[in-house]
Symmetry: C2
Subunit: 341 residues, 2 copies
Amino acid sequence: MSERTEIGEIGEFGLIGRISEMAHLANKTTIKGIGDDAAVIDNGDDYLIFSTDALVENVHFDLGYVPLRHLGYKAMAVNFSDMAAMNGQPKQVVVALGLSNRFSVEAVEELYEGMRLACEKYGVDLVGGDTTTSRSGLFISVTVLGKVAKDKVAFRKGAAEKELLCVTGDLGAAFMGLQVLEREKQVFQANPEMQPDLEGKDYIIQRQLKPEPRLDVIQELARLGVTPTSMIDISDGLASEILHLCKASGLGARIYEEKLPIDRTTYEVAREFNLDPITIQLNGGEDYELLFTMPQSDYDKLRNHPDISVIGYMEAPGTQAMMVTKQGNEVPLQAQGWKHF
Amino acid sequence: MSERTEIGEIGEFGLIGRISEMAHLANKTTIKGIGDDAAVIDNGDDYLIFSTDALVENVHFDLGYVPLRHLGYKAMAVNFSDMAAMNGQPKQVVVALGLSNRFSVEAVEELYEGMRLACEKYGVDLVGGDTTTSRSGLFISVTVLGKVAKDKVAFRKGAAEKELLCVTGDLGAAFMGLQVLEREKQVFQANPEMQPDLEGKDYIIQRQLKPEPRLDVIQELARLGVTPTSMIDISDGLASEILHLCKASGLGARIYEEKLPIDRTTYEVAREFNLDPITIQLNGGEDYELLFTMPQSDYDKLRNHPDISVIGYMEAPGTQAMMVTKQGNEVPLQAQGWKHF
């Protein structure tokens, strides 16, 4: 080929854009193809939702400090989170595994034990897989199949101007957990007799190693009678996900720094690392919380909810996504997120 | 961990066995989990079928002689073949891709162009994916979702004693195609000015590089009014697949060497390589033909069919799977297949 464009030049989202232009949809049951948290397939009474996510060694995880059981759990959790992002429930899952010969049968069983725990907790069946050799590291490719009622499905698009932007849980903890684990790994490499200093950091380490999909929030929203008008899960960082919702709905947004939820440990460890907590909240990634919009008329249903924060609202078409700082300045949101390429 | 069992000791099938013992099924819609060509999920009027298969560089393919477009096509074809093996049709597919930075955007587009061609040919929608970095080679993990009528589904189990064993197409061609490609690669590496000598070998090379799922046979069987009582696709070699059917149905089998279909090119190239053609037919692998059983009463429907061969029949429980040679000797079938570990 005469032309050579590096993937880094167009980025992962650019590559997905090119691929989705090539995808040709023939089945009229396909409601939504590439470009949301999951594909949506008409199934008569309800929709099927269908999504895949791969974890690759030394790209997404480091076996130097990630226990295999946690890794198996996380591989499931990040996929279940895509089902939550459609306002649906995961039902069945298949796993393709690439293993090098440094993995023993017992190690593979540890990995599957973590998968089994996540499946059991969330009522999902592990129904199939493929196990192959990999010449180098481990990869885990998970595909999940779920369901959502037709009148409840939430896409990335669908938000309207002035609707409220809401986020679940707190932000930035998983990223700070990763920083702590990386630091302790380096300390250990320098001096293998040092014990890791993880005291008081359980919460952020747990958020990194064993994230939970917010399927509890999906049930809670149903109970409260709130159907998100648009939704996405926060895997690449809040800023990046807000920009996705804005682009999909053709709107701008305005969020308030003071409204962004953060756990005290995340805040303190960020300061310890000389990092600005707001940067971590906006761009940390791997939170697997949910970001969604809802009409203002639903505000009373969620007001004072301990696990859901209203962080701003959607703005008119043609405006940017902005954050109002605690000082009252307005700064445009930028997607930093995870760039693996 | 104190215990360490090498995966090679128990093999891929042993590993799958251990994993499937761990899998806990909670949803009553899950009809069949791990252990068939696809999982089967009750979907009201019909069954969903759901399967995953990964291709890994330097394990399943060598980019030294596999064009990316063919590779994309093959990644789809082997997955569609799993749907055929359930007597069903593929409908939607998702792809997780691990790419190292030696791949350009144009290379990825070539790969997707092959996927698109296969999807278009077989009426399947590419509805989603995940694209990540890989630290080393390329991997392609494909998951396919399909449908099958409840009264048509074919499992690996279900065969009865005295039923006929049938195979589609011919056997061993893909394996001989691979031998030719490997030989020409070595010739080229020894002397880069040598042109590859592939003349007259188009058929076997095509069978290796661009296999077709036998979805045409599925339609043909429906037209003829034949519903297989058990079925599997031939990915690891005929002998291995016969043993799978025997084990699943708790039966033995008897096949006849003289009945096994072979293409003339496969036969001639096998002799050229000093290989016994029957070994290639039994253990070659990657044929992606279908092996199925049917009642003797259906024999007239398939008699003289140009693309389906009756190769033997199922034997009583407790007997072995045997082949009767052209000389009239009986030899037990052994699974050699592909052992990547």
